[in-house]
């Protein structure tokens, strides 16, 4: 198939950037979207032009490196799929595709389709962990976890931190990302001692980083390549509100 691409080109963080049109010919339907861009890049190098910078590593939908908008959809048109796992058989000859980086105040563009997602790491730093130094752990089976709880925690823990949720959200909110980590840890018995502090500090970190507020558009859930549910946002908000209330109290909340 032959495609017309309009790709966002931006030399560096300070450059203004613009869309540039490219024609890609004879694309195989079995190639992945990133392989299609590889082919384009090889052609650009052949012509002495700078290839399009985009982030990728595992190309298996698990590292969360890749991601950009295709015709306004984060990770493109297929549900539950990262761009590295998106194959060209879902497109057709003659398609015109607009490819742009994540757009969010909290994710500045570094070059072309590459953005800085460091804000996500800083949200984790605020409390996305269980404090247990190496060697302190008790025997693993001393802490039974009911299977449904473990399964639910795993549903949340699957987040790959790609940033699609933020990119698709009209408010640029990071609630799905943050709530996935809060829920993963707050559901588990191991996470109880730090539960309310965690919710409080991670939500505050989210605000500090310049992400917007969640107003329940649910666009994030629709584009999440791991199909993480917005129910986790409600769960995070409950813990956050309790934690806020606790701030004025003398004795800590019961978990």
């Amino acid at each position: 198939m032959n495609l017309t691409l309009h790709v966002w080109r931006q030399k560096g963080p300070a450059d203004e950037g613009r869309m540039v049109q490219y024609e890609v010919k004879d694309v195989s339907e079995h190639a992945s979207f990133l392989e299609m861009l590889d082919v384009l890049n090889q052609q650009l190098i052949g012509r002495g032009e700078e290839p399009v910078a985009f982030e990728h590593d595992c190309r298996e939908g698990i590292c969360g490196s890749c991601g950009f908008m295709i015709n306004g959809d984060a990770h493109g048109p297929m549900p539950g799929t990262t761009v590295c796992q998106l194959h060209m058989r879902h497109f057709k000859d003659g398609d015109v595709l607009h490819i742009e980086p994540w757009r969010s105040r909290a994710f500045p563009v570094l070059k072309d389709l590459v953005v800085d997602r460091g804000a996500f790491d800083r949200i984790i730093q605020a409390g996305g962990f269980i404090s247990v130094a190496t060697g302190e752990a008790p025997e693993a089976n001393l802490i039974p976890v009911p299977k449904p709880v473990a399964d639910r925690a795993m549903d949340a823990a699957q987040c790959i931190g790609c940033g699609a949720c933020v990119a698709q959200c009209p408010n640029g909110a990071a609630s799905l990302f943050t709530s996935a980590k809060v829920s993963h840890l707050n559901l588990l018995p191991q996470g109880q001692p730090e539960r309310f502090d965690r919710a409080l500090s991670m939500v505050e970190a989210m605000d500090r980083e310049g992400f917007g507020y969640c107003s329940n558009h649910a666009e994030c859930e629709a584009v999440c390549p791991k199909e993480i549910s917005i129910d986790f946002i409600a769960r995070m908000n409950r813990d956050y509100l309790k934690a806020k209330a606790q701030r004025g109290m003398k004795t800590p909340l019961q978990t």
Partner: protein
């Protein structure tokens, strides 16, 4: 600096007590003094992240580096199947000794017994640590941890988190690391590629040189010790199951500065990967080994059989693994399966549009257990397969073909995980130590975390304690010289201005290494490769084209630097494979096979580690050997009949 003998520093005494005894005698750094030491950790995968977090918890100052935009994206994230530990939760006869035994035997008697025993011992602590961190391992209905049997093991000792065990273990270590970053004990440098290690006049590692991948700035970092946890080198083959960024540069730069590279030819080719679909193919995707528990491997008996697979009747199918290995059947070890699959495809019996695969068929299992049971076991893998190929494996058999997956070779390290260069350590897949000539499934995650959480935090103190009060400085001649050399190399790559992209050279190199130093090797092929590789390397250095300058985000420059190192590594792999005139584990020399076509070891002449010393580009490296002794597991011919 010429090293002639190797001291592996294996502690004396019975194997069960070696590690405890050793720990009891290692020198310690006083808690108040720990903050006076800076440790540089390159890599944030399971090995690097666990080490960096543990060092910081102990009180050391840590700098951690990775080339991704976040430490959470290290290649460990992609591991699917699980992690081994000798917990014996299933009461099925597992023990530290059995895990040790299986690992030594699986490695075809080319690993160090003492290291492997320690690995099996600390496997117990790993599971405890990860469970406490909130890793959502699979559970049974009673709330206790679930296990499965994996990769042909006769006991259930594999812990898992759906099909995403590596992801969850890495996130556990990453979270511990982020906590320490928040506390200020770790300074994280993402998007920083280590391009060299700085060695002082006394042969000690004192720092590294990095390139900021956004601005192109070359930086110096000084440390009292340097820890490399930079992963494996399967991408030398171009097509592999590894992440695109995985590379050998950090280890290779250390090798060029004097660190010995051990057993480079020991590579693992994984039998169950999705075959390549075209010449644009950028990587290969692993389909978990667990699929062989229920899938049956076959090809049509007639080449070019045009019938749909479900139309081919039983008598016209060859279930070649079941036929050749009646007792292990489809569950033979990775190397045996991979070799047999390549063999039938080479004979022209391959299936699929490119005739480059064999069937992995679930029809029987679905009939026996029901579709639901298969969905529960493999749902996510089946979905991934369908996403990639557009075929539904519940209806049409999967097609699989082997792909390079793991590298057992790596930097030579002693029992303390120190390389032969003082103060330079190597952990995880980057070192050579525990898997011999073949790694068992679910043992790499175990080794990475063992090294990072439970070995290096002890052994590094022994070294550091002798260097209290030493001031760090990057304003030394050693730093200046190394930085200048790094800068010079970057400039050289950029200024070639030829006509071919780094990717095109990489692909061509990969084809050579796959052809002659892949699943099966022979002397004539290796000699040929040793002519082809240097010729292509020379073309690389005279005809490479990098578009864009050095002082910016430049993915072509990054790739070119890695490919340049893969060229030199590829040559060493072939030298090692040619020199090792025996077969063992994943290294099959066609000249040395049993009548059944299995790897035929030559213990009399090759029961040693080959540690290679760099002598310069295009110069023959020097082999230094570390003899291996087997006191507890008697070497036998592996047999999976």
């Amino acid at each position: 600096m010429a090293t002639t003998t190797l001291d592996s520093r294996i502690p004396p005494g019975p194997i069960e007590h070696k590690w405890d005894e050793h720990k009891g005698h290692l020198k310690l750094v006083n808690p108040n003094n720990k903050r006076k030491f800076t440790i540089l950790v390159v890599g944030s995968g399971l090995a690097g992240a666990s080490a960096a977090a543990s060092f910081a918890e102990l009180g050391y100052e840590v700098r951690c580096f990775c080339f991704q935009d976040s430490p959470r994206r290290a290649h460990s994230i992609a591991a699917q199947g699980g992690i081994n530990a000798a917990k014996n939760y299933h009461n099925d006869g597992d023990s530290v000794f059995r895990l040790f035994y299986d690992t030594v035997k699986g490695g075809d008697f080319r690993s160090r017994e003492a290291n492997v025993y320690r690995l099996a011992q600390v496997s117990l602590n790993i599971i405890d640590q990860c469970a406490a961190q909130g890793v959502p391992f699979a559970r049974e209905y009673g709330g206790l941890l679930d296990n499965r049997s994996f990769g042909g093991a006769q006991v259930s000792r594999t812990f898992y988190a759906r099909g995403q065990t590596g992801q969850q273990l890495l996130l556990g270590a990453y979270q511990a690391l982020e906590k320490e970053i928040a506390s200020g004990k770790v300074r994280m440098f993402p998007r920083a590629e280590m391009l060299d290690v700085v060695i002082d006049g006394r042969g000690r590692a004192v720092g590294i040189i990095t390139r900021d991948m956004v601005t192109g700035k070359i930086d110096r970092h000084a440390g009292h010790a340097v820890v490399l946890a930079t992963g494996g080198y399967s991408n030398v083959y171009y097509l592999s199951t590894n992440a695109k960024g995985s590379n050998v540069t950090a280890a290779w730069r250390a090798h060029r500065r004097g660190a010995l590279f051990a057993n480079p030819c020991y590579t693992q080719i994984h039998p169950t990967c999705i075959p390549a679909s075209g010449d644009y193919q950028s990587k290969l995707t692993l389909m978990s080994e667990s699929l062989r528990n229920d899938g049956r491997v076959w090809v049509p008996k007639q080449p070019d059989d045009k019938r749909r697979p479900d139309q081919i009747p039983e008598p016209d199918r060859d279930y070649f693994l079941e036929r050749r290995y009646p007792s292990f059947g489809n569950l033979v070890p990775r190397d045996v399966a991979a070799r047999n699959i390549k063999h039938v495809v080479d004979e022209g019996l391959g299936v699929g549009p490119q005739k480059n695969g064999v069937y992995l068929d679930f029809a029987d299992a679905i009939q026996r257990l029901g579709r639901k049971a298969i969905e529960e076991r493999y749902g996510n893998l089946f979905a991934m397969y369908e996403k990639i190929t557009g075929e539904d494996p519940y209806v049409v058999p999967m097609r699989i073909y082997p792909a390079p997956h793991y590298t057992m070779g790596g930097l030579w390290v002693d029992y303390n995980l120190m390389t032969n260069l003082t103060g330079l350590y190597a952990l995880g897949e980057a070192n050579f130590s525990d898997h011999g000539a073949n790694r068992l499934g679910a043992s790499a995650l175990m080794q990475g975390l063992a090294d990072g959480y439970f070995v290096i935090p002890y052994t590094i103190g022994d070294y550091l304690s002798g260097h209290l009060g030493e001031k760090l400085s990057t304003e030394t001649d050693d730093f200046r010289r190394t930085e200048a050399e790094v800068q010079e190399r970057v400039n050289r790559l950029i200024s070639i201005k030829g006509t071919r992209s780094a990717d095109s050279f990489h692909r061509e190199l990969g084809r050579i290494v796959w052809e002659y130093c892949g699943i099966a090797r022979n002397a004539a092929g290796l000699q040929k490769a040793l002519q082809l590789i240097p010729a292509l390397r020379e073309e690389f250095w005279s005809n490479l084209r990098i578009v864009g300058g050095p002082d910016q985000l430049n993915q072509e420059l990054e790739l070119a630097g890695r490919v340049a190192d893969f060229f030199e590594l590829a040559e060493l792999m072939c030298v090692d494979a040619l020199d090792r005139d025996e077969s063992c584990g994943g290294h099959l020399r066609e000249e040395h096979q049993t009548p059944d076509g299995e790897a035929q070891r030559d213990d009399e002449h090759f029961q040693f580690v080959s540690a290679w010393q760099w002598n310069g580009v295009g110069k023959t490296p020097t082999r230094i050997t570390e003899p291996l002794e087997f006191e507890y597991v008697k070497p036998t011919q592996r047999s999976y009949k």
